[in-house]
Amino acid sequence: MNYFQPQTVGQAVNIAQTFEATFLAGGTDLVLHMQTGKIHPNAIIDLGKISELKEIKETDGYLEIGSMATFAELGQSELVFQKALALWLACQTMGSPQIRNQATLGGNLGNCSPAADGLPPLLALGAEVRLISREGDEVVSLETLLSRTPLLSQGTLIREFRIPLKGLQSGFAKLGRRKALAIARLSVAIAIELEDNRVGKVRVALGAVGKRAYLSEILARELSDQELNEVWIEKGIEGVQRVVREALGARASAPYKREAVSGVFREALGTFIPEGGTKV
């Protein structure tokens, strides 16, 4: 098997095309899949030496996050904390310190596990993804990208995430079986426009209730443009339970998850609205 370590994005994309190679980001999923024989790459392109892919910066109205930024870097970034709290929170609890040091946001999307911790916050925050291949650049909303099968065509590299800075308040909570090294059994990310006590647009994304994380249109419709109060919170809880019930159908985990999501939703609200986390 060939192993490449290009210095630039252009080189990486060229190699990917020529050798039908697989991109290696942090490797916390890919290497395990190789060890268990789940995948057999023709060649590996290690993206670790391409410094531009690691950048986290603010540029004209966007928070730009390179695909090779690690969960540890994101979780320690003041900028991410200020502008994208939901994502920052997800980066605190994903895996363990060792995994967060290694795993990247781009890898989280590339592997696209149903329980991927990074995706619900990005969805809720309305993130776009910049892809690059030999055919050129493409900027696509994460929501659209997650509806594609396969997610990415051969040779396409996830270059960066672009979170529009629209002043959204956001929060995140996940339910695992334990407090660290826990795969999400449920995760909820919420982003809202909030002015005084008035809620504008609302975006709720769910993880681990489908094949991929997704935005709930129903919840956006039912919860947008209202007063923020106890009634609104209970309406959200009732709604999210209904959405999860419909999404999971007769799956074995359904009876538990459709109940438990209320607590996860409430906790996610509580991460950014003081009154959200407590049941009156």
Binding site: R178, Y256, S262, G263
Partner: protein, 335 residues
């Protein structure tokens, strides 16, 4: 809603193989002319610290420091069998064998030293702080190493082999009478938990653990062994579950067979009671398994105290707790 509760668990536990099964430990000891000693025993130190215990036992008996003792263990080519590291038996059972062996080697040294010091009885000889001499007469003493050196030049070898067999008789199947175990260990723990009534998740906030160890030969190890037992007990209570399907294990990995992580283990306060076990080495007895036994009961009782449901199968998963809460709610509605 998050609700808190407190629970208590108690345990008593017979240590050793028990029920008349021969429970034998052995040790070889040699006292050297550089003021050190070696202990050979088959007992396996799997991380619980038995090697340190044997070094301390030998050092105490010889008036040396534990770093003066070299313990060779678990080498089947050269060490005498001391049974398994199981049944909470290595401190007590092998500890006794080591103590017997050290005393046997030491008695030869005492015989020789009594003659050297023209002391009428070995009772008058003491080993203290690296010296051997006449009790109560500091002017008549010499380094232990020098005495052993002299003894060696006179052809004496301070070596010994001993074994120790635990007391145990089979239970009479007709009458139920007998003394299957010796000794017994006792412990009690309290747990404080917080239960999320919406997700069923249990967070353990604090555990206080008190154990009767006879004599804490190494208090730091006792604390650590209690902490380890509590952590394992928490996993037993809340996480560990072997999932079987047609006899095959569905979760044969630590990514799917979950044990607590550092974040899941709360502050543990460990205390021990020292009620000397007369048959044990310097009054000590085992702690390994007893440290994890009360934890499950303490946690399950604390869950009951917090939310009023009784979980009767382990682990107490969030699913079981939510289900029990729903059943309870239904029953209340009927009334």
């Amino acid at each position: 809603m998050k609700k808190r509760g407190i629970g208590i668990g108690c345990a008593w536990y017979g240590t050793g193989y028990g029920n008349g099964f021969p429970d034998v430990s052995s040790a070889f000891v040699e006292i050297h002319d550089d003021g050190s000693a070696t202990v050979l025993t088959g007992a396996v130190d799997v991380g619980q610290g038995s090697n340190s215990i044997y070094a301390q036992i030998a050092a105490e008996e010889l008036g040396l420091e534990s770093q003066d003792i070299c313990v060779y263990s678990a080498d089947t080519d050269v060490t005498p069998d001391s049974g398994t590291t199981a049944a909470t038996r290595q401190t007590y059972n092998t500890g006794n064998a080591v103590l017997k062996a050290v005393r046997q080697a030491k008695s030869r040294l005492l015989d020789y030293a009594a003659r050297e010091f023209s002391c009428p009885t070995i009772e008058g000889i003491e080993l203290k702080a690296g010296y051997i001499g006449i009790k109560g007469d500091p002017s008549r003493r010499m380094p232990l190493a020098d005495m052993v050196f002299k003894a060696r030049l006179h052809g004496q070898r301070l070596i010994s082999a001993e074994s120790s067999t635990a007391r145990s008789t089979p239970v009479d199947l007709e009458t139920g009478q007998g003394a299957p175990y010796w000794p017994y260990a006792f412990g009690s723990q309290m747990a404080e938990v917080e239960v999320d009534t919406e997700t069923g998740m249990v967070s353990v906030l604090k555990v206080v653990a008190v154990h009767d160890v006879g004599k804490a030969i190494n208090p730091t190890q006792v604390e650590a062994q209690i902490a380890g037992g509590v952590a394992q007990g928490l996993g037993y209570a809340l996480l560990e579950e072997l999932e079987l399907q047609e006899g095959r294990i569905k979760n044969p990995a630590l990514s799917s067979y979950l044990i607590p992580t550092a974040l899941d283990v709360p502050n543990i306060e460990a205390f021990f009671v020292e009620e000397a076990e007369e048959t044990g080495p310097f009054g000590a007895k085992g702690l390994g398994e007893p440290a994890m036994l009360p934890t499950v009961a303490a946690v399950i009782n604390a869950i009951d105290d917090a939310v009023g449901v009784r979980i009767t199968s382990l682990p107490a998963t969030p699913e079981k707790i939510l289900h029990a809460l729903a059943v309870k709610k239904e029953e209340l509605a009927k009334k």
